[in-house]
């Protein structure tokens, strides 16, 4: 598929962006339209530990999960729902496993759609298994298995195809634990983007052949690792200012998937999706205050501001007083959506969006930058040099630093400010010549990171 770089924003200004509406809505699954004026819950789940033992157990587990969710949706009267199955390793490595799961789930969803008319779609997210024990193996055999997996789940009923791709991770893991900003830029902005462009052309092709939706990727492997290491307000593992620089870089990186054919809805854990939505106008999934089952964050409300799908990230399937976990969380998510949909219908979407945003805006440097107005500015910095993956990533990080430096109303710790100033200085000192940056990094990281293999990026 052809790659088309974004050099302009899809929206004229940040204020145009709201939840439930995207410039380019996506039709998918059974009567669902994403970003077409309403929001929908996207429910995620993980099988119980013992369910991974055999294929039969696994298929059975996902059937139970699917039935539980669909039953709860009709019991409380919700008009639509999306299910996301993140493959466990066995399901991707054995494409028929993933396919059987998809088929079993879709069959149940079709029954509910037929009986009740509930709109629904199924997302499958194969694991990015492109690696050997010690090294990434982004191209070659493992790539082929991933593509087979996509084909198999698409044939079997998956409507939306996603992946959390890992390009750049080997450098990132090294860099993030050493406050190494140029390394993070190289890992996320350069290597990550290059791998995505390669990978997503393949996925988009499969999707086109199978007539399903190539939905989108997330920088889980890098920006989310940074966010998790950064943790809560009192954690001492990574400055939150660095975590949000990683996230801004991820905006430049994750965009590459949409340039290579993905159409949205972007995947839930991509907190950079707010930047992507501004640039592409495509619908996006988000997770936050109703994904505390999966992780804690410091922008739970804010991140809901412009969602099209609203997700719980993941929850282990087990019982609670109120039903199984997937029932509990799908219900909470759907109530959130009902609130947003009421706001949309009554013309109050902007005030609700703003309340969500304002409640977390000053909670953390991360939330400050992901507030839609600031995220939009990061997007503008990206598209300004949209044709150069290095420059646009550098722009994103620089804009992030600038916004934080000039932030009004945001209190930062000395530690966060110091890390920020150091990062800003390092960014300012970087070359504006992509080639030079590439060759410098190649040399440096070949020497320092023993698991780095340039051939993964055709370098």
């Amino acid at each position: 598929m052809a790659v088309k770089k974004f050099t302009t924003m899809a929206y004229n200004n940040a204020d145009e962006m709201v939840f439930g509406r995207a410039k380019s809505p996506v039709k998918a699954g059974l009567d669902l339209e994403i970003g077409a004026g309403y929001t929908t819950a996207e429910v995620n789940y993980a099988p119980r530990p013992e369910a991974g033992e055999t294929k039969e157990k696994l298929v059975n587990e996902y059937q139970r999960i699917t039935r539980d969710i669909m039953a709860r949706m009709v019991q409380v009267g919700f008009p639509s729902v999306v299910l996301e199955t993140e493959h466990v390793q066995q399901m991707t490595n054995n494409p028929t496993w993933g396919a059987e799961v998809a088929h079993a789930q879709k069959t149940i969803m079709e029954e509910y759609h037929e009986e009740y008319g509930i709109k629904c779609a199924l997302r499958h997210t194969p694991g990015d298994i492109r690696e050997d024990k010690d090294f990434l193996q982004l191209r070659g055999d493992k790539y082929n298995v991933v593509m087979e997996s996509f084909e198999a789940v698409a044939d079997a009923g998956a409507d939306l195809l996603s992946i959390e791709s890992m390009g750049g991770k080997e450098i990132f893991d090294y860099a993030v634990l050493r406050n190494d900003i140029p390394g993070m830029l190289y890992a996320i902005g350069v290597l990550g983007s290059m791998d995505m462009e390669y990978l997503w052309q393949g996925i988009a092709k499969v999707a086109q052949q199978k007539n399903v939706t190539p939905a989108g990727d997330t920088d889980c492997a890098q920006a989310n690792t940074a966010m998790f290491i950064a943790g809560g307000l009192l954690d001492k593992n990574l400055a939150h200012t660095l975590a949000i620089i990683a996230r801004s870089l991820a905006g430049a990186r994750t965009l590459s998937g949409y340039e290579a054919g993905a159409t949205g809805p972007g995947k839930d854990c991509g907190y950079e999706n707010i930047i992507i939505k501004g640039i592409t106008g495509m619908p996006m999934a988000f997770e936050g205050k109703t994904s505390t089952c999966a992780h804690s964050d410091v922008m739970g409300n804010l991140i809901m501001q412009c969602c099209d799908l609203w997700s719980n990230e993941s929850v282990e399937y087990h019982a609670e007083f109120g039903g199984t976990t997937v029932q509990c969380w799908s219900e909470s998510l759907s109530y959130d959506c009902a609130l947003m949909n009421t706001a949309l219908k009554s013309g109050n979407e902007k005030i609700l969006r703003d309340l969500l945003m304002a409640s977390d805006r000053f909670r953390d440097p991360q939330s400050y930058i992901l507030a839609y107005d600031n995220a939009f500015k990061v997007g503008q910095a990206i598209v300004k040099d949209g044709n150069d993956i290095y420059l646009r990533a550098k722009n994103a990080a620089t804009e992030c630093c600038n916004l934080l430096t000039g932030a009004e109303g945001l209190e930062m710790t000395k530690f966060e400010t110091n890390a920020l100033n150091k990062a800003a200085a390092e960014l300012a000192a970087l070359t504006s010549d992509s080639e030079k940056f590439m060759s410098d990094c190649m040399e440096k990281y070949k020497a320092e990171v023993k698991v780095f293999k340039p051939e993964n990026y055709a370098l």
Binding site: Q75, F78, Y116, N341
Partner: protein
């Protein structure tokens, strides 16, 4: 005040799915042909105790045997009720009122005949020690009775000793336990162990608010019961000869 029409925000699936048939129409198709039996069955369906007794009197006067009336009219009427409840055509209070009427009818027949029919089977029900939540248990008991089972109801807050003693005394085909609290459901494990110790391998169906399938799966005799209607279903399955493993396969839905 803001009022927003529901279109696009919620769907009242119950309204959307509503059966066009009235319960009365649905029941009419299921009544027995025999005029006298039919009147009794109808009175059961309506939950009208007086009409049930009147119907029984009329049938007996017409020469019918009181004990066979239990099977041919009372039980048939009750089967109409439980079937329509299972199909979602009628609601639980109808079942409760019909069951009340049926039980009264049975008493009347027994008194008339001077003898008792053999029930389908005996079930002991109880609420775990320390737990006061008993309405779920009462529904279970009522539905079992409505389906023709004899029920020994030990009530709420029942010590393990008492459960074991009762099982030994009554030799039921099945035991049920209800618990609504995490701390009280723990007693089920003990009941299980004590039963096994005594060499009794009997299906022990457990349900109620805090109880869940994963927990019930941790002890051998346990079968999870999600809703009260699963109790008579499981009793029927036992009568049909299903093994413990088969019961679990059927009733473990999550």
């Amino acid at each position: 005040m803001l009022i927003v029409d529901k279109e696009g925000i919620l769907i009242r699936y119950n309204v959307k799915m509503e059966k066009s048939m009235t319960p009365e129409d649905a029941a009419a198709e299921l009544y027995p042909k025999d005029e006298l039996n039919r009147a009794i069955a109808e009175a059961i369906f309506e939950g009208e105790e007086d009409d049930v007794i009147d119907g029984l009197k009329a049938a007996i006067a017409a020469g019918k045997d009181p004990i066979s009336l239990i099977d041919d009219s009372l039980m048939v009427g009750m089967k109409v009720v439980t079937e329509l409840y299972d199909q979602g055509v009628i609601f639980l209070p109808n079942v409760m009122m019909s069951a009340d009427a049926m039980l009264e009818g049975i008493e009347f027949c027994k008194a008339e005949a001077g003898s008792s029919p053999k029930p389908k089977g005996k079930v002991v029900v109880h609420v775990a020690e320390g737990d006061v939540h008993d309405i779920g248990k009462s529904i279970v008991a009522a539905l079992l009775r409505a389906n023709g089972y004899e029920v020994v109801d030990l009530g709420r807050d029942v010590p393990v000793d008492e459960v074991i003693a009762c099982v030994k005394k009554e030799s039921p085909m099945m035991l049920t336990g209800t618990a609504l609290m995490t701390t009280t459901m723990f007693a089920f494990k003990e009941v299980n162990d004590r039963l096994l110790e005594a060499g009794i391998r009997m299906p022990f169906q457990c349900g109620g608010g805090a109880v869940n399938q994963d927990f019930v799966s941790t002890y051998e005799l346990g079968v999870y019961g999600e809703e009260a209607a699963d109790a008579p279903k499981m009793a029927d399955a036992i009568l049909a000869g299903k093994s413990l493993a088969e019961l679990k396969a059927t009733f473990h839905k999550h």
